[in-house]
């Protein structure tokens, strides 16, 4: 049984709506301000020296949609977008496949040292990245990977502790009787994994794919350390470069930020359920 919170009388209901609506303002205003600035002309941005607030502060009139092509011409954001998508596809594929394989090992196969290794894997999640950052950098450098996408893509294929944890939890809820029956029929572990467990685990796989996609989309430190060729920048790094180089072009900067943010928001709306379920199963259980 779960709770849905207390039932309320009319007065408390109205009060609840008022408080929630007031709180929505700080939650939404930064995003509204971003989009509204991205559609303003210079005079609309700077001639606000009376510091007043009016409807036109948030809803510019006339609109200046040409800021978007302007932004794309200032820095090649479409190239950055392509780079980001490429990185997202590679890392999603790598992380989901490898984490599922590893999770099956931890959830369904009994081998010596399993529990110790599982605990060790969980512990690595608390290890600050700064500790391993420098030796890992010099390792990739000596492999000749500096300046390529390999330092971002290859580690994704070695499974992520977080996703392995999520998937292990999920695989454990699948009853062992089914795999036992398949084993009696002579199926090997790999067959059971690919034919039986994976098709039943689509929600967990989708959650991890989504998290990884967003993680790579947002990743800033990876490209900052390893990508030195502007033609290879992903969006997150490109946007930071925009601030450094053209920080004064407010409208174009906000247009670029909007281009970077909107796809993630759209993705969220389409996959809201997968999202919330995934996060909810993480918390302290």
């Amino acid at each position: 049984m779960t709770t849905d919170g207390p039932k309320l009388n009319l007065g408390s209901k109205v009060a609840t709506y008022v408080v929630l609506t007031l709180l929505c303002l700080p939650a939404l205003l930064p995003l509204v301000w971003m989009i509204s600035t991205s559609l303003k002309g210079d005079t609309q941005i700077y001639n606000a020296t009376d510091h007043g607030l009016s409807l036109s502060t948030l809803v510019p009139s006339p609109l200046h949609p040409e800021n978007y092509p302007d932004a794309l011409n200032t820095l090649p954001f479409l190239v950055y977008l392509r780079n980001t998508l490429f990185l997202c596809i590679c890392t999603v594929l790598g992380a989901v496949v490898s984490s599922a394989v590893v999770a099956y090992g931890f959830a369904k196969v009994n081998f010596t040292g399993k529990n110790t290794l599982f605990m060790l894997m969980i512990a690595t999640m608390a290890l600050p990245g700064q500790v391993t950052m420098i030796p890992v950098f010099s390792l990739y450098r000596s492999l000749g990977w500096y300046g390529t996408y390999l330092p971002i893509i290859v580690p994704a294929f070695t499974a992520s502790a977080y996703y392995v944890f999520l998937m292990t939890q999920f695989f454990r809820t699948i009853p062992n009787e089914m795999s036992e029956a398949a084993r009696v029929d002579g199926a090997g572990e790999w067959t059971i994994f690919t034919r039986l467990i994976l098709p039943l685990s689509k929600p967990a796989l989708a959650t991890c794919a989504l998290f990884q996609f967003i993680g790579t989309w947002n990743d800033f430190l990876g490209p900052l350390l390893y990508i030195n060729d502007p033609a290879k920048y992903p969006l997150a790094y490109g946007l930071q470069q925009f601030v450094t180089l053209y920080g004064g072009k407010h409208a174009q900067l906000m247009a670029a930020s909007t281009i970077f943010t909107i796809p993630i928001i759209i993705l969220f709306f389409f996959a809201q359920k997968t999202f919330i379920q995934g996060i909810s199963t993480t918390g302290g259980k």
């Binding site: 590893v102 600050p128 500790v131 391993t132 070695t158 430190l221 900052l224 997150a236 996060i279 302290g284």
Partner: protein, 297 residues
């Protein structure tokens, strides 16, 4: 007997094959670098030439002569002390509010969750613009109510406060976890409390909050660990450490030491001090667990 052994050996082989992607990655990208960074912390190393052994020199220098080390450590600790508890209080309060049973609540939940999925670099860029001293939205709103807003990111206490504010904007991320925790509290506990004549305040104090402590504990630990690695926002918004180094976070200083000055041995020593502090702190938090975290109903 031999047959059982052979089965066990086969099971082991299969098991290790399945976990091999993680095991290989762990050894190559975590364990070996972890050990190697201890060694590097005792050397002078610039990536290009071989590391040169200097004994305890890096640690000595850090602890006795480097003011920026203490300054950045303090900024980071201050951030953890302020942002983590604030985030927990705001997240729990918001979750309690969003758990009330009224129509249209799912829309509000979506709205409050939204900020937490905006990419960090975009959030930083948008806040820089929001906080623009002359034509930013925040100071314009303040002007309407007759308050002259500060030059947020370029004056000392305000730059730091801006980052706290920005962290609170993203509180929806942990709110969802608290909300899930609230949904898991068994109804019979509330029913029993009602039978005992408990008021809503008492129910909150003696049922809801104690039942939420495992989730709060989880968020506290994760919050501390990530506060100590706070980097991207500081790097984008105040790459030089902000006014009077007031937003010169530890990880930002570490990054600059390593990649701006190619002082990799020194940065490795900094990383190890960070690691030890995080271990000790999380260890202490785990020890307080018995006193306030309630597991099971």
């Amino acid at each position: 007997m031999p047959r059982g052994n052979r089965d066990k050996a086969k099971q082991n082989l299969v098991g290790y094959l399945f976990i091999s992607p993680w095991l290989i990655g762990f050894i190559a990208f975590t364990f070996w670098p972890f050990i190697r960074s201890i060694y590097l912390s005792f050397t002078r190393y610039n990536i290009v030439t071989e590391p040169k052994w200097v004994g305890l020199a890096n640690y000595k220098m850090l602890l006795t002569q480097d003011e920026l080390f203490y300054k950045s450590a303090w900024v980071t600790i201050k951030y953890a002390i302020v942002a983590v508890p604030l985030g927990i209080v705001a997240g729990v309060a918001l979750a309690l509010l969003l758990n009330i049973n009224v129509k249209g609540m799912s829309v509000f939940r979506t709205i409050f969750y939204l900020p937490s999925i905006v990419p960090t670099v975009a959030t930083s860029v948008v806040f820089m613009w929001l906080l623009n001293p002359n034509i930013g939205l925040v100071n314009r709103i303040l002007a309407v109510v007759g308050v002259q807003g500060p030059a947020w990111l370029s004056t000392s206490p305000w730059a730091f406060n801006s980052l706290i504010m920005m962290a609170l904007w993203g509180v929806g991320g942990s709110m969802v976890i608290y909300l899930a925790g609230l949904k898991d509290i068994p109804v019979h506990l509330y029913e029993a409390a009602t039978l005992d004549g408990a008021s809503s305040v008492k129910k909150l104090r003696y049922v809801t909050l104690p039942m939420m402590t495992p989730v709060i504990f989880f968020n506290l630990v994760m919050g501390i660990i990530s506060a100590f690695q706070y980097f991207t926002q500081a790097f984008v918004m105040t790459p030089n450490g902000g006014p009077e180094d007031s937003t010169y976070f530890y990880s930002l200083y570490l990054y600059n030491r390593a990649w701006k000055y190619l002082d990799m041995g020194y940065a490795s020593a900094m990383a190890w001090i960070l690691f030890l502090v995080v271990i000790v702190l999380t260890g202490l938090v785990f020890r307080t667990q018995k006193k306030w975290v309630h597991y099971g109903g």
